[in-house]
Amino acid sequence: MSEKAYEVAHIDDLDRFPVDDEGLLWRPVRRRLGITTFGTNAYTAERGDERVVEEHYERDGAEELYFVAGGRATFTLGDEEIDAPAGTFIYAEPGTKRAAIASEPKTTIVAFGARPGVPHEISGWEEIFVAFGHLRNGNEEEGRRAIARAVAERPDAWQGHFNAACFESLTGNRAATFDHLRRAIELDPKAAEFAQKDSDFDWLRDDPEFPA
Protein backbone atom coordinates (compact mmCIF):
# COMPACT_ATOMS: atom_id res chain seq x y z
CA MET A 1 0.00 0.00 0.00
CA SER A 2 1.41 3.38 -1.00
CA GLU A 3 1.40 6.13 1.54
CA LYS A 4 -0.50 8.53 -0.68
CA ALA A 5 -2.53 11.04 1.35
CA TYR A 6 -5.79 9.61 0.00
CA GLU A 7 -7.32 6.76 -2.01
CA VAL A 8 -10.45 6.72 -4.16
CA ALA A 9 -12.55 3.76 -5.33
CA HIS A 10 -16.03 3.42 -6.75
CA ILE A 11 -18.20 0.67 -5.33
CA ASP A 12 -18.61 -0.81 -8.84
CA ASP A 13 -14.82 -1.20 -9.12
CA LEU A 14 -14.35 -3.15 -5.88
CA ASP A 15 -13.43 -6.85 -6.02
CA ARG A 16 -16.40 -9.19 -6.15
CA PHE A 17 -15.91 -12.35 -4.11
CA PRO A 18 -18.80 -14.84 -3.91
CA VAL A 19 -19.43 -15.74 -0.26
CA ASP A 20 -21.82 -18.60 -0.99
CA ASP A 21 -23.50 -20.29 -3.93
CA GLU A 22 -26.62 -18.12 -3.66
CA GLY A 23 -25.33 -14.90 -5.23
CA LEU A 24 -24.08 -12.93 -2.22
CA LEU A 25 -20.95 -10.97 -3.14
CA TRP A 26 -18.39 -9.63 -0.66
CA ARG A 27 -16.79 -6.37 -1.79
CA PRO A 28 -13.78 -5.57 0.42
CA VAL A 29 -13.45 -1.82 1.11
CA ARG A 30 -11.05 -1.63 4.08
CA ARG A 31 -8.62 -3.93 2.34
CA ARG A 32 -8.77 -2.03 -0.94
CA LEU A 33 -8.24 1.41 0.59
CA GLY A 34 -5.86 0.50 3.43
CA ILE A 35 -8.13 1.64 6.28
CA THR A 36 -6.64 0.73 9.66
CA THR A 37 -9.08 2.04 12.28
CA PHE A 38 -12.32 0.19 11.54
CA GLY A 39 -13.56 -2.65 9.36
CA THR A 40 -15.50 -1.72 6.22
CA ASN A 41 -17.02 -3.98 3.62
CA ALA A 42 -19.81 -3.87 1.09
CA TYR A 43 -22.13 -6.77 0.28
CA THR A 44 -24.21 -7.01 -2.88
CA ALA A 45 -27.14 -9.33 -3.54
CA GLU A 46 -27.47 -9.53 -7.32
CA ARG A 47 -30.82 -11.34 -7.65
CA GLY A 48 -32.68 -9.55 -4.90
CA ASP A 49 -33.97 -12.41 -2.80
CA GLU A 50 -30.78 -13.77 -1.28
CA ARG A 51 -29.12 -13.23 2.07
CA VAL A 52 -27.08 -10.02 2.14
CA VAL A 53 -25.94 -10.17 5.78
CA GLU A 54 -25.31 -13.58 7.30
CA GLU A 55 -26.99 -14.23 10.66
CA HIS A 56 -24.40 -13.61 13.38
CA TYR A 57 -23.91 -12.01 16.80
CA GLU A 58 -20.44 -10.34 17.02
CA ARG A 59 -19.84 -11.93 20.39
CA ASP A 60 -16.21 -10.71 20.34
CA GLY A 61 -17.54 -7.26 21.25
CA ALA A 62 -17.57 -5.47 17.87
CA GLU A 63 -20.17 -2.77 17.28
CA GLU A 64 -21.54 -2.85 13.74
CA LEU A 65 -23.26 -0.20 11.67
CA TYR A 66 -24.93 -1.21 8.41
CA PHE A 67 -25.98 1.29 5.75
CA VAL A 68 -28.29 0.35 2.90
CA ALA A 69 -26.47 2.02 -0.01
CA GLY A 70 -28.77 0.76 -2.76
CA GLY A 71 -31.88 -1.38 -3.22
CA ARG A 72 -33.82 -2.59 -0.20
CA ALA A 73 -33.40 -5.27 2.47
CA THR A 74 -35.29 -6.86 5.33
CA PHE A 75 -33.10 -6.84 8.43
CA THR A 76 -33.49 -8.99 11.51
CA LEU A 77 -32.22 -7.19 14.60
CA GLY A 78 -32.77 -9.21 17.77
CA ASP A 79 -36.42 -10.28 17.54
CA GLU A 80 -37.39 -7.39 15.30
CA GLU A 81 -37.87 -7.46 11.53
CA ILE A 82 -37.10 -4.16 9.79
CA ASP A 83 -37.87 -2.99 6.26
CA ALA A 84 -34.76 -1.06 5.24
CA PRO A 85 -34.85 0.93 1.97
CA ALA A 86 -31.75 2.72 0.63
CA GLY A 87 -30.60 5.38 3.09
CA THR A 88 -31.30 3.33 6.25
CA PHE A 89 -28.72 2.87 9.03
CA ILE A 90 -28.95 -0.26 11.19
CA TYR A 91 -26.84 -0.31 14.34
CA ALA A 92 -26.22 -3.64 16.08
CA GLU A 93 -24.70 -3.81 19.57
CA PRO A 94 -22.31 -6.69 20.29
CA GLY A 95 -24.25 -9.88 21.02
CA THR A 96 -27.42 -8.82 19.19
CA LYS A 97 -28.59 -11.20 16.47
CA ARG A 98 -28.39 -9.50 13.06
CA ALA A 99 -29.11 -10.73 9.52
CA ALA A 100 -30.55 -9.32 6.30
CA ILE A 101 -32.25 -10.60 3.15
CA ALA A 102 -32.40 -8.46 0.02
CA SER A 103 -35.84 -7.53 -1.22
CA GLU A 104 -34.74 -5.84 -4.47
CA PRO A 105 -32.15 -6.81 -7.11
CA LYS A 106 -28.66 -5.32 -6.73
CA THR A 107 -29.15 -4.49 -3.08
CA THR A 108 -25.90 -3.23 -1.58
CA ILE A 109 -25.12 -2.92 2.12
CA VAL A 110 -22.02 -1.17 3.46
CA ALA A 111 -20.94 -2.41 6.89
CA PHE A 112 -18.65 -0.61 9.36
CA GLY A 113 -17.37 -2.27 12.53
CA ALA A 114 -14.87 -2.09 15.38
CA ARG A 115 -14.53 -2.93 19.07
CA PRO A 116 -14.89 -0.04 21.52
CA GLY A 117 -12.04 0.74 23.90
CA VAL A 118 -9.24 -0.95 21.97
CA PRO A 119 -7.18 -0.06 18.89
CA HIS A 120 -8.65 -1.71 15.79
CA GLU A 121 -7.28 -5.07 14.72
CA ILE A 122 -7.84 -6.27 11.18
CA SER A 123 -10.17 -9.28 11.18
CA GLY A 124 -8.53 -12.61 10.40
CA TRP A 125 -11.56 -13.70 8.38
CA GLU A 126 -10.87 -11.13 5.62
CA GLU A 127 -8.00 -13.15 4.11
CA ILE A 128 -10.04 -16.36 4.48
CA PHE A 129 -12.97 -14.77 2.60
CA VAL A 130 -10.50 -13.71 -0.11
CA ALA A 131 -9.18 -17.29 -0.39
CA PHE A 132 -12.60 -18.90 -0.82
CA GLY A 133 -13.77 -16.01 -3.01
CA HIS A 134 -10.92 -16.67 -5.43
CA LEU A 135 -11.70 -20.39 -5.33
CA ARG A 136 -15.39 -19.76 -6.18
CA ASN A 137 -14.24 -17.47 -8.99
CA GLY A 138 -12.14 -20.37 -10.36
CA ASN A 139 -8.75 -18.96 -9.34
CA GLU A 140 -7.31 -21.68 -7.12
CA GLU A 141 -3.78 -20.30 -7.30
CA GLU A 142 -4.71 -16.86 -5.90
CA GLY A 143 -6.93 -18.54 -3.32
CA ARG A 144 -4.06 -20.73 -2.18
CA ARG A 145 -1.83 -17.69 -1.74
CA ALA A 146 -4.52 -15.99 0.38
CA ILE A 147 -5.12 -19.01 2.63
CA ALA A 148 -1.34 -19.32 3.14
CA ARG A 149 -1.24 -15.65 4.20
CA ALA A 150 -4.15 -16.22 6.61
CA VAL A 151 -2.30 -19.12 8.29
CA ALA A 152 1.04 -17.25 8.33
CA GLU A 153 -0.52 -14.16 9.94
CA ARG A 154 -2.03 -16.16 12.82
CA PRO A 155 -0.13 -19.45 12.97
CA ASP A 156 -1.53 -20.35 16.39
CA ALA A 157 -5.19 -19.67 15.57
CA TRP A 158 -7.21 -22.85 14.97
CA GLN A 159 -9.53 -21.05 12.53
CA GLY A 160 -6.78 -20.43 9.95
CA HIS A 161 -5.73 -24.10 9.91
CA PHE A 162 -9.35 -25.27 9.86
CA ASN A 163 -10.12 -23.10 6.84
CA ALA A 164 -6.89 -24.18 5.18
CA ALA A 165 -8.07 -27.78 5.69
CA CYS A 166 -11.41 -26.92 4.04
CA PHE A 167 -9.56 -25.29 1.15
CA GLU A 168 -7.29 -28.31 0.65
CA SER A 169 -10.24 -30.70 0.86
CA LEU A 170 -12.24 -28.71 -1.72
CA THR A 171 -9.24 -28.78 -4.05
CA GLY A 172 -8.71 -32.53 -3.60
CA ASN A 173 -5.56 -32.57 -1.46
CA ARG A 174 -6.04 -35.34 1.09
CA ALA A 175 -2.67 -35.18 2.88
CA ALA A 176 -2.65 -31.37 3.23
CA THR A 177 -6.24 -31.48 4.47
CA PHE A 178 -5.35 -33.91 7.23
CA ASP A 179 -2.21 -31.94 8.22
CA HIS A 180 -4.15 -28.70 8.69
CA LEU A 181 -7.09 -30.40 10.38
CA ARG A 182 -4.82 -32.17 12.88
CA ARG A 183 -3.12 -28.85 13.70
CA ALA A 184 -6.49 -27.09 14.10
CA ILE A 185 -7.73 -29.79 16.53
CA GLU A 186 -4.43 -29.64 18.42
CA LEU A 187 -4.92 -25.87 18.87
CA ASP A 188 -8.60 -26.20 19.85
CA PRO A 189 -10.47 -29.51 20.17
CA LYS A 190 -13.73 -27.87 19.09
CA ALA A 191 -12.31 -27.89 15.54
CA ALA A 192 -13.09 -31.65 15.53
CA GLU A 193 -16.78 -30.97 16.21
CA PHE A 194 -16.92 -28.46 13.37
CA ALA A 195 -15.12 -30.88 11.04
CA GLN A 196 -17.66 -33.62 11.75
CA LYS A 197 -20.47 -31.40 10.48
CA ASP A 198 -18.71 -29.56 7.64
CA SER A 199 -19.72 -30.80 4.18
CA ASP A 200 -16.37 -29.60 2.77
CA PHE A 201 -14.94 -32.85 4.19
CA ASP A 202 -17.67 -35.21 2.97
CA TRP A 203 -15.43 -37.06 0.50
CA LEU A 204 -12.84 -37.75 3.23
CA ARG A 205 -15.10 -38.48 6.17
CA ASP A 206 -14.92 -42.27 5.85
CA ASP A 207 -11.14 -42.26 5.44
CA PRO A 208 -9.61 -44.19 8.37
CA GLU A 209 -7.10 -41.34 8.89
CA PHE A 210 -9.74 -38.58 9.00
CA PRO A 211 -8.73 -36.83 12.23
CA ALA A 212 -12.15 -35.75 13.52
Binding site: E3, K4, A5, Y6, E7, V8, A9, H10, I11, D12, V29, L33, G34, I35, T36, T37, F38, T40, A62, E63, L65, F67, A69, G70, F75, L77, G78, I82, A84, A86, G87, T88, F89, I90, Y91, A92, E93, T96, R98, V110, F112, G113, A114, R115, P116, G117, V118, P119, H120
Partner: protein, 223 residues
Protein backbone atom coordinates in the same frame (compact mmCIF):
# COMPACT_ATOMS: atom_id res chain seq x y z
CA UNK B 1 -28.80 0.28 22.08
CA UNK B 2 -29.38 -1.51 18.76
CA UNK B 3 -31.72 0.34 16.43
CA UNK B 4 -32.40 1.80 13.01
CA UNK B 5 -32.80 5.28 11.51
CA UNK B 6 -33.17 6.82 8.07
CA UNK B 7 -30.42 9.23 7.11
CA UNK B 8 -33.09 11.72 5.96
CA UNK B 9 -34.81 11.58 9.38
CA UNK B 10 -31.59 12.24 11.32
CA UNK B 11 -30.36 15.17 9.22
CA UNK B 12 -30.63 18.59 10.89
CA UNK B 13 -30.05 21.89 9.06
CA UNK B 14 -26.65 23.34 9.98
CA UNK B 15 -25.70 26.23 7.69
CA UNK B 16 -26.02 25.27 4.02
CA UNK B 17 -25.91 21.50 4.67
CA UNK B 18 -27.85 19.09 6.86
CA UNK B 19 -25.93 17.06 9.42
CA UNK B 20 -26.95 13.58 10.61
CA UNK B 21 -25.24 12.83 13.93
CA UNK B 22 -25.18 9.09 13.42
CA UNK B 23 -22.64 8.17 16.10
CA UNK B 24 -24.33 10.15 18.85
CA UNK B 25 -27.79 9.00 17.75
CA UNK B 26 -26.89 5.34 18.23
CA UNK B 27 -24.29 5.84 20.99
CA UNK B 28 -21.53 4.18 18.94
CA UNK B 29 -18.24 4.03 20.89
CA UNK B 30 -15.89 2.27 18.47
CA UNK B 31 -15.66 4.74 15.57
CA UNK B 32 -16.89 8.17 14.53
CA UNK B 33 -19.73 8.37 12.01
CA UNK B 34 -21.74 11.26 10.65
CA UNK B 35 -23.53 12.05 7.41
CA UNK B 36 -23.99 15.31 5.53
CA UNK B 37 -26.66 16.20 3.01
CA UNK B 38 -26.67 19.17 0.61
CA UNK B 39 -30.20 19.76 -0.68
CA UNK B 40 -29.05 21.89 -3.59
CA UNK B 41 -26.27 21.58 -6.17
CA UNK B 42 -23.41 23.92 -5.31
CA UNK B 43 -23.94 23.51 -1.54
CA UNK B 44 -20.91 22.88 0.67
CA UNK B 45 -21.05 19.30 1.94
CA UNK B 46 -17.76 19.09 3.81
CA UNK B 47 -16.15 22.33 4.91
CA UNK B 48 -12.44 22.52 4.23
CA UNK B 49 -10.52 21.11 7.16
CA UNK B 50 -7.67 18.88 8.17
CA UNK B 51 -7.58 16.53 11.14
CA UNK B 52 -4.77 18.28 13.00
CA UNK B 53 -6.58 21.24 14.60
CA UNK B 54 -7.42 21.74 18.26
CA UNK B 55 -10.97 20.48 17.76
CA UNK B 56 -10.06 17.67 15.33
CA UNK B 57 -9.67 14.01 16.20
CA UNK B 58 -6.48 13.30 14.17
CA UNK B 59 -8.57 10.71 12.39
CA UNK B 60 -8.17 8.89 9.13
CA UNK B 61 -11.50 9.49 7.40
CA UNK B 62 -13.59 7.49 4.95
CA UNK B 63 -16.17 9.42 2.94
CA UNK B 64 -18.86 7.48 1.07
CA UNK B 65 -21.09 9.32 -1.40
CA UNK B 66 -24.38 7.54 -0.83
CA UNK B 67 -26.58 9.71 -3.06
CA UNK B 68 -26.20 12.38 -5.75
CA UNK B 69 -22.83 13.56 -7.00
CA UNK B 70 -20.03 15.47 -5.26
CA UNK B 71 -16.67 17.00 -6.06
CA UNK B 72 -14.02 16.46 -3.39
CA UNK B 73 -10.82 18.44 -3.10
CA UNK B 74 -8.05 16.66 -1.20
CA UNK B 75 -4.54 18.12 -0.96
CA UNK B 76 -5.40 20.38 -3.90
CA UNK B 77 -6.52 17.48 -6.14
CA UNK B 78 -10.07 17.60 -7.46
CA UNK B 79 -11.92 14.26 -7.30
CA UNK B 80 -15.13 13.56 -9.19
CA UNK B 81 -17.29 11.51 -6.83
CA UNK B 82 -20.63 10.21 -8.12
CA UNK B 83 -22.87 8.13 -5.81
CA UNK B 84 -21.05 4.96 -4.78
CA UNK B 85 -17.61 6.60 -4.49
CA UNK B 86 -15.40 6.02 -1.46
CA UNK B 87 -12.78 8.70 -0.73
CA UNK B 88 -10.40 7.60 2.02
CA UNK B 89 -8.17 10.36 3.45
CA UNK B 90 -5.35 8.61 5.26
CA UNK B 91 -3.19 11.65 6.04
CA UNK B 92 -4.59 13.78 8.89
CA UNK B 93 -2.64 16.78 7.51
CA UNK B 94 -4.40 16.65 4.12
CA UNK B 95 -6.90 19.48 3.59
CA UNK B 96 -10.20 18.06 2.40
CA UNK B 97 -13.56 19.52 1.37
CA UNK B 98 -16.55 18.57 -0.78
CA UNK B 99 -19.23 20.39 -2.74
CA UNK B 100 -22.49 18.90 -4.09
CA UNK B 101 -22.82 18.80 -7.86
CA UNK B 102 -26.42 17.57 -7.74
CA UNK B 103 -29.41 18.32 -5.54
CA UNK B 104 -29.86 15.92 -2.61
CA UNK B 105 -26.25 14.75 -2.40
CA UNK B 106 -25.38 12.79 0.74
CA UNK B 107 -22.02 11.73 2.18
CA UNK B 108 -21.45 9.28 5.05
CA UNK B 109 -18.19 9.91 6.96
CA UNK B 110 -16.50 7.33 9.21
CA UNK B 111 -13.28 7.95 11.15
CA UNK B 112 -10.86 6.81 13.80
CA UNK B 113 -7.31 7.49 15.01
CA UNK B 114 -4.79 4.86 13.87
CA UNK B 115 -3.29 2.70 16.59
CA UNK B 116 -5.58 4.00 19.32
CA UNK B 117 -8.95 3.13 20.80
CA UNK B 118 -11.61 5.50 19.46
CA UNK B 119 -12.46 8.64 21.37
CA UNK B 120 -14.94 11.20 19.99
CA UNK B 121 -13.45 14.28 18.30
CA UNK B 122 -13.60 17.38 20.50
CA UNK B 123 -15.87 19.16 17.98
CA UNK B 124 -18.54 16.52 18.57
CA UNK B 125 -19.17 18.08 22.00
CA UNK B 126 -21.15 20.64 20.02
CA UNK B 127 -23.64 18.00 18.92
CA UNK B 128 -26.45 18.54 21.49
CA UNK B 129 -26.27 22.33 21.06
CA UNK B 130 -26.27 21.93 17.28
CA UNK B 131 -29.38 19.79 17.54
CA UNK B 132 -31.18 22.75 19.17
CA UNK B 133 -29.64 25.00 16.54
CA UNK B 134 -30.84 22.73 13.74
CA UNK B 135 -34.33 22.73 15.24
CA UNK B 136 -34.34 26.55 15.09
CA UNK B 137 -34.26 27.05 18.89
CA UNK B 138 -31.39 29.56 18.86
CA UNK B 139 -31.85 30.72 22.48
CA UNK B 140 -31.59 27.15 23.76
CA UNK B 141 -28.63 26.50 21.44
CA UNK B 142 -26.87 29.63 22.77
CA UNK B 143 -27.39 28.43 26.35
CA UNK B 144 -25.89 25.04 25.49
CA UNK B 145 -22.89 26.67 23.75
CA UNK B 146 -22.40 28.94 26.80
CA UNK B 147 -22.16 25.82 28.97
CA UNK B 148 -19.53 24.32 26.65
CA UNK B 149 -17.66 27.62 26.67
CA UNK B 150 -17.53 27.61 30.46
CA UNK B 151 -15.64 24.27 30.25
CA UNK B 152 -13.29 25.43 27.45
CA UNK B 153 -13.18 29.23 27.25
CA UNK B 154 -10.69 29.29 24.35
CA UNK B 155 -12.50 26.90 22.01
CA UNK B 156 -12.76 28.88 18.76
CA UNK B 157 -15.37 26.49 17.34
CA UNK B 158 -17.70 26.83 20.33
CA UNK B 159 -17.27 30.62 20.26
CA UNK B 160 -18.10 30.67 16.56
CA UNK B 161 -21.23 28.56 16.97
CA UNK B 162 -22.33 30.63 19.96
CA UNK B 163 -21.96 33.77 17.83
CA UNK B 164 -24.11 32.17 15.10
CA UNK B 165 -26.88 31.33 17.58
CA UNK B 166 -26.75 34.82 19.11
CA UNK B 167 -26.81 36.53 15.71
CA UNK B 168 -29.87 34.50 14.72
CA UNK B 169 -31.67 35.24 17.99
CA UNK B 170 -31.05 38.99 17.69
CA UNK B 171 -28.32 39.32 20.35
CA UNK B 172 -26.13 41.44 18.12
CA UNK B 173 -23.59 42.75 20.66
CA UNK B 174 -22.99 39.30 22.18
CA UNK B 175 -22.67 37.78 18.70
CA UNK B 176 -20.07 40.34 17.64
CA UNK B 177 -18.05 39.86 20.81
CA UNK B 178 -17.96 36.07 20.57
CA UNK B 179 -17.26 36.07 16.85
CA UNK B 180 -14.37 38.50 17.28
CA UNK B 181 -12.80 36.29 19.97
CA UNK B 182 -13.31 33.16 17.82
CA UNK B 183 -11.56 34.73 14.81
CA UNK B 184 -8.67 35.92 16.98
CA UNK B 185 -8.17 32.37 18.26
CA UNK B 186 -8.56 30.69 14.86
CA UNK B 187 -8.15 32.96 11.81
CA UNK B 188 -9.20 30.01 9.57
CA UNK B 189 -12.80 30.83 10.57
CA UNK B 190 -12.60 34.27 8.91
CA UNK B 191 -13.37 32.98 5.42
CA UNK B 192 -16.25 30.88 6.78
CA UNK B 193 -17.71 33.83 8.67
CA UNK B 194 -17.54 36.04 5.60
CA UNK B 195 -19.92 33.75 3.71
CA UNK B 196 -22.00 32.49 6.64
CA UNK B 197 -25.62 33.62 6.32
CA UNK B 198 -26.06 33.16 10.10
CA UNK B 199 -24.30 36.54 10.39
CA UNK B 200 -26.53 38.44 7.96
CA UNK B 201 -27.98 40.42 10.88
CA UNK B 202 -24.56 41.76 11.89
CA UNK B 203 -22.73 41.71 8.56
CA UNK B 204 -22.82 45.48 8.10
CA UNK B 205 -21.52 46.28 11.58
CA UNK B 206 -18.00 47.85 11.49
CA UNK B 207 -16.88 45.38 14.18
CA UNK B 208 -17.91 42.43 11.96
CA UNK B 209 -16.06 43.88 8.96
CA UNK B 210 -12.86 44.48 10.92
CA UNK B 211 -12.99 41.08 12.65
CA UNK B 212 -13.42 39.20 9.36
CA UNK B 213 -10.65 41.27 7.78
CA UNK B 214 -8.36 40.41 10.70
CA UNK B 215 -7.95 44.09 11.60
CA UNK B 216 -7.81 45.44 15.13
CA UNK B 217 -11.15 46.78 16.31
CA UNK B 218 -11.08 50.57 16.75
CA UNK B 219 -13.67 50.41 19.53
CA UNK B 220 -11.41 48.17 21.63
CA UNK B 221 -14.37 46.15 22.88
CA UNK B 222 -14.07 42.45 23.51
CA UNK B 223 -16.26 39.53 24.56
Amino acid sequence: MSGTARLSDLALQIGSARWAMVRTHFGIQAFGVNAWVADEAGGQLIGEHDELGQAAGHHEELYFVSEGHATFTVDGDEIDAPAGTFVFVRDPAAKRSAVARQDATAVVVVGGKPGEAFTPSPWERNAPALADFGAGDYDKAAEAFEQLLAETPDDAGVLYNLACAESLSGKRAEALGHLKRSLELDPDFRATAEKDSDFDAIRDEPEFVSAVAGQPDASGSSA
